[in-house]
């Protein structure tokens, strides 16, 4: 019972991460019809926004220690972050501590710009090209972005901790009258879950309840007719691309404390996010979110010891197995629209 509850929590958390990553992809891929292999790279850049903000905040003034020496016998360098000098040690330290949430503020405009530039500068020319060409160009772009990050930040993972108040975990079990420590869950993962829910809700609301969203939805359904009505759909699609990049970036920023990012983190999520989008069904936003949660929960259950001992290795393949079963029983994924990317 506790184990199941624990894995449900886990699944919800994993699912929210998958859903959030897939959401950005489905905006571009599921609706604009662009096979965007650079989506993982956008997620990665988001995570590195967090790294950059942390690095900037910890830029330090160097003074020499009179006594201690470093590994070569030279006087030890003592680093005091500039922010601590400017805003006082306490506030400065707090700023550094909160670098990940702060990074969100920076990531949104940066990712919007990256998304728009990407669309205007590159993707625009590929709307009418075969999907194969889109794959090649976006994959090339992904490699380039990834290598640039590797060049400036190295290949090693970079620790980007969450603010100190979110350390440790919340005891659900104790709240529900079970023994302590039976069902616990880390605070930051709960924050991630809530954050994902808010972002997903916001994107839905934006598309559902605004005129802009209405036009975009119309454009997805029939781009030509909307164009004939004299509406500049291209401009709106550009904005959509920026939005998708921002969503991917925010997913990345918030994910940084969960797993220290490295330049490869985007590629690790790329395949998974495609699977989630397609299982959800092409052209369906709710489908992608639903698939994200479904696969997250299934993965959590598959990694339970009881199930692993029954079918060894099931946790390695569960996502793909589930994808196959779903795609074979439901021709267009969970909630796919007819005719989107079917040929």
């Amino acid at each position: 019972m506790e184990a199941i509850l624990l894995q449900v929590l886990n699944g919800l958390d994993k699912g929210s991460a998958y859903a959030l990553i897939a959401l950005g992809l489905t905006l571009i891929f599921g609706t604009l019809g662009v096979v965007n292999f650079a989506h993982g790279a956008l997620f990665m850049i988001g995570a590195f926004c967090a790294v950059t903000v942390q690095k900037v905040l910890t830029l330090s003034k160097i003074t020499l220690d009179p006594v201690k020496t470093d590994f070569l016998g030279n006087p030890l360098q003592i680093k005091t972050p500039y922010v601590e000098g400017w805003f006082g040690p306490e506030f400065g330290a707090a700023l550094i501590d909160w670098s990940v949430p702060l990074a969100i503020l920076f990531a949104i405009p940066i990712m919007l710009v990256i998304g728009v530039v990407m669309e205007r500068g590159l993707i625009k020319h590929f709307y009418r090209r075969p999907h194969a060409d889109q794959i090649l160009v976006t994959f090339g772009l992904a490699i380039v972005l990834q290598e640039l990050i590797k060049h400036y930040f190295g290949a090693n993972q970079i620790a980007t901790p969450a603010p100190d108040v979110f350390r440790g975990s919340f005891d659900f079990g104790a709240m529900m009258g079970m023994d302590p420590n039976v069902v616990i869950y880390p605070y930051w993962r709960l924050v991630y879950f809530a954050f994902a829910a808010v972002i997903i809700g916001a994107v839905f609301a934006f598309l559902q309840f605004t005129t802009f969203g209405m036009v975009v939805r119309a454009g997805m359904a029939d781009r030509e007719t909307v164009g004939l009505l004299g509406i500049n759909i291209d401009k709106r699609f550009t904005i959509m691309f920026g939005l998708a990049a921002a969503v991917a970036g925010m997913a990345g920023v918030m994910y940084a404390p969960i797993n220290s990012p490295n330049y490869h983190i985007g590629m690790d999520f790329l395949v998974l996010s495609f699977v989630v989008v397609v299982v959800g069904g092409m052209g369906s936003l709710p489908g992608a979110v639903l698939a994200g949660f479904l696969l997250g929960i299934l993965e959590s259950f598959a990694s339970m010891n009881e199930i692993k001992s029954l079918i060894p290795g099931i946790d390695q393949i569960i996502i793909y197995l589930a994808a196959i079963i779903i795609l074979l029983t439901r021709p267009r994924g969970l909630m796919g629209r007819k005719g989107v990317m079917e040929d």
Partner: protein, 400 residues
């Protein structure tokens, strides 16, 4: 000749000449020159060019003709390799049974996966194939280790049975792969002054099989079967409305291209008897997709060019380190030398991926039909110019 004619025959002949003379063509620079770094004429890389050429040619039969984009073809390559190595372990070091088995096993594997995956089309098909391949990879890496030797990859060992061969060679080592006694790794070197050209038995076996594969691929492209596959690509729905069941055709194409992949896998193992699980990872499947698109999907020669292009960067550019760069630019003044080396370093050595990524983008942006398109354009440019010159001479007026 051989049931093909015209352009196709010319193309086959060109490929044959290129493949047979590869040891010369790929080694254009003298050994002691600084450019020798760019020589690609050593057995391992030549074998790789040809083997991945076969893989891509096979992939193109599915993707180029039917438009079905499989993202799991590496699984067949991997299965082929594993079968071949198992043959070396159990049967003998002769490559023939190994290659035959790898083609058959990969074909059966493709039949099963194709039968299931082809129930869907478009992106749904791609994800189904991807899912199968990733499952194979993950299992091969972990649970199936008794069969695949997991992370390390399946290798030969001294206590393998090899019932028709010997477990241990005369010198006390593991016997080497051979074709009826002709060792695959045996290489003759021809030294011509400062040039040295390597002729490897293994390479020529691969090259002959490439020619056979290429020939079969031409025949498929020009056959009624190939025409049917093209019809599937242009409009499958219409075909279905005419009462035609397209599934057997697409399934046949899938199995054939799976067998090509199996052949490539078997050859990889025959040249170097080790089968690593990474061969089945999605990145490997992605690589053959990239090769085909980069070279020119749907063209005969494109995939081979794409395969050569990517493997060249992976093996040649990754080996250029700052030491080499300093040798190259040693003639420049100190400050300038360092600046040039610093700049170039980004694109070679550990930065080889960056160069590859940039080239992907450039090629696909400016040459929509891939490398083949580039070739055609150059050809047209040369021919166009000469034509124009002729016309100019005749009419004394430029023809525009």
């Amino acid at each position: 000749m051989l049931g093909i004619k015209g352009k196709d025959l010319t193309l086959l002949c060109v490929v044959a000449v290129l493949a047979l003379c590869a040891p010369f063509i790929l080694n254009p620079f003298p050994q002691s020159s600084a450019m020798a770094q760019f020589n690609a004429g050593y057995p391992d890389l030549m074998q790789r060019f040809v083997i991945f050429g076969i893989f891509a040619v096979g992939f193109n039969i599915l993707f180029g003709l039917t438009g079905y984009l499989s993202f799991g073809h590496a699984a067949f390559l991997g299965v082929g390799s594993y079968s071949a190595v198992w043959m070396f372990k159990l049967l003998s070091m002769n490559v023939i049974p190994a290659i035959i088995l790898s083609v058959i096993v990969a074909g059966l594997f493709a039949l099963v996966i194709g039968f299931v995956s082809l129930r869907r089309s478009g992106i749904y098909f791609s994800i189904l194939t991807l899912a199968f391949a990733q499952m194979s990879f993950n299992l091969a890496y972990s649970v199936l280790t008794p069969i695949t030797n997991g992370e390390t990859g399946l290798q030969l060992s001294l206590d393998d049975p090899r019932i028709f061969g010997t477990s241990v060679s005369d010198t006390g080592g593991i016997p080497v792969t051979s074709l009826f006694g002709m060792e695959m790794r045996e290489t003759s070197t021809l030294s011509l002054g400062d040039w040295s050209f390597q002729f490897s038995n293994g390479y020529y076996l691969c090259a002959v099989l490439l020619l056979v594969s290429f020939y079969i691929s031409i025949r498929i492209f020009r056959s009624p079967f190939g025409l049917m596959l093209r019809a599937v690509k242009s409009n499958q729905t219409r075909l279905n409305y005419t009462g035609l069941n397209t599934r057997p055709y697409t399934l046949a194409a899938f199995v054939i291209s799976g067998m090509y992949a199996g052949l490539a896998g078997g050859l990889l193992a025959s040249m170097d008897p080790l089968a690593g699980a990474e061969r089945m990872q999605w990145t490997a499947s992605g690589e053959v997709v990239l090769m085909t698109i980069l070279g020119g999907a749907g063209t005969l020669i494109g995939p081979v060019l794409g395969a050569g292009f990517i493997k060249y960067f992976e093996n040649i550019f990754s080996k250029i380190n700052d030491n080499v760069l300093h040798q190259w630019f040693g003639g420049l003044p100190e400050g300038l030398e360092n600046a040039v080396v610093w700049f170039t370093e980004h694109f070679v050595g550990s930065g080889w991926n960056l160069t590859l990524g940039l080239l992907f983008m450039l090629v696909v942006t400016f040459l929509p039909g891939g490398l083949v398109e580039g070739g055609t354009r150059i050809g047209r440019l040369i021919r166009g110019k000469s034509k124009r010159a002729e016309k100019k001479a005749a009419q004394s007026k430029p023809a525009e």
